[in-house]
């Protein structure tokens, strides 16, 4: 089908494309913050290309920027990426990709592509939405990461430009849409307090893992409640 025809007749393709533009654009902030955290342009671009999961990438550089070790950065990024396993399962039940398509689908299984696919009722639309959002975000996100990394590298002292403040804002922006309902708000508050208490007591990067453990325990204790409340 012709591209223009597809855009006209398929709401999922349109939705996928617009989310790709919106999300891809903020790859520029990841690139700039990445170099501000002390990584080289090549390392920052490798994260977008290979890790490709916004929250995990921001976590990785966020821990490094706070003086944490690369090991705890990898720990935080992996824990934050666990939800992608759940997404993979949900997308798999909808699309059932086979062969190389399954390997490619796994790499572009992120918040955005999963949300678009789950938002469609028609099987063809689910497939179009998932791939448009996934491949679209992947392409733009990587391009804009490179732009941001080169710009951030040229800026010099990141604090003067408020890039450390930009990181705070970015994490709050990632957290915000997940704070629907009372329980996520309570978990966020508890984990913020736990982090403040842990910062002086343990090496940099570890407070995040302590907070993750607390959140996991809260989730485990309340496991009889509806899972959709926090996982969605």
């Amino acid at each position: 089908m012709h591209v223009r025809e597809l855009l006209r007749t398929s709401p999922a393709t349109r939705a996928g494309l617009s989310i790709a533009l919106a999300t891809g654009a903020y790859g520029v902030s990841f690139g700039a913050l990445g170099t501000a955290s002390g990584l080289g342009v090549l390392e920052v671009c490798a994260l977008s290309l290979l890790l490709f999961s916004g929250g995990s990438q921001f976590a990785f550089i966020g821990v490094l920027a706070g003086g944490g070790s690369p090991a705890s950065a990898a720990g935080a990024s992996t824990l934050l990426g666990l939800r992608n396993g759940v997404y993979g399962m949900q997308v798999n039940t909808l699309l059932r990709p086979r062969g190389w398509r399954r390997l490619a689908a796994a790499q572009v299984t992120i918040d955005e592509s999963t949300a678009i696919a789950l938002g469609q009722t028609d099987r063809t639309e689910q497939r179009r939405g998932f791939w448009t959002a996934g491949v679209g975000v992947f392409g733009l996100w990587n391009l804009m990461t490179l732009v941001g990394a080169l710009a951030g590298d040229a800026l010099g002292d990141p604090r003067r430009w408020g890039l450390d403040g930009a990181a705070v804002a970015a994490f709050l922006g990632l957290l915000w849409p997940r704070l629907r309902g009372r329980e996520p708000g309570a978990i966020a508050a508890v984990c913020a307090v736990v982090t403040v208490l842990a910062i002086p007591l343990v090496p940099p990067g570890i407070p995040i893992l302590v907070a993750a453990a607390v959140a996991a325990l809260v989730g485990w204790w309340g496991r009889d409640r509806s899972p959709e409340e926090v996982a969605a």
Binding site: S29, E43, A46, L50, L51, F52, S53, G55, F60, G62, V63, G67, P70, A74, A76, T78, L80, G81, L82, G85, V86, G88, M89, T93, L103, A106, Q107, T109, G162, L163, G165, A166, V168, A169, A170, L172, G173, L175, W176, I187, A188, A189, C191, A192, V194, T195, I199, P200, P204, P207, A211, A212, A215, A216, V218, G219, G222, P227, V230, A231
Partner: protein, 103 residues
């Protein structure tokens, strides 16, 4: 060099996590308890990252222009600003604080 190794380890683990959703039988990964725990952990990790990036200075707590960024970002989100604008507002608030001579 070690940094590169951990970076590549993080990338490998991220991909295996995604792929596991396609390969592991649904009754193992699809348990409501696991979905709930993973959802709770995402919220907890992000809240912790907000806090750490706002007040941590190595192993010390610091009050500086980053708190201005936090407040400004909160206002932007309450006004339903898109993500990129929220980030820019945060950077501007911290940069203005520094320009005004705050730490």
């Amino acid at each position: 060099m070690t940094a590169w190794l951990w970076l590549l380890a993080a990338c490998t683990l991220a991909y295996l996590t995604k792929l596991s959703g396609y390969l592991v039988p649904q009754r193992l990964l699809g348990s409501p308890a696991l979905i709930r725990v993973s959802g709770c952990m995402t919220v907890g990790l992000l809240a912790s990252l907000v806090t750490m990036n706002a007040v941590a200075d190595g192993q010390a707590l610091a009050i500086d222009s980053r708190l201005l960024a936090l407040a400004a970002a909160l206002v932007a989100l309450l006004l339903r600003a898109p993500f990129l604008l929220v980030v820019v507002v945060g950077a501007a608030a911290a940069a203005l604080g520094r320009l005004a001579g705050l730490p």
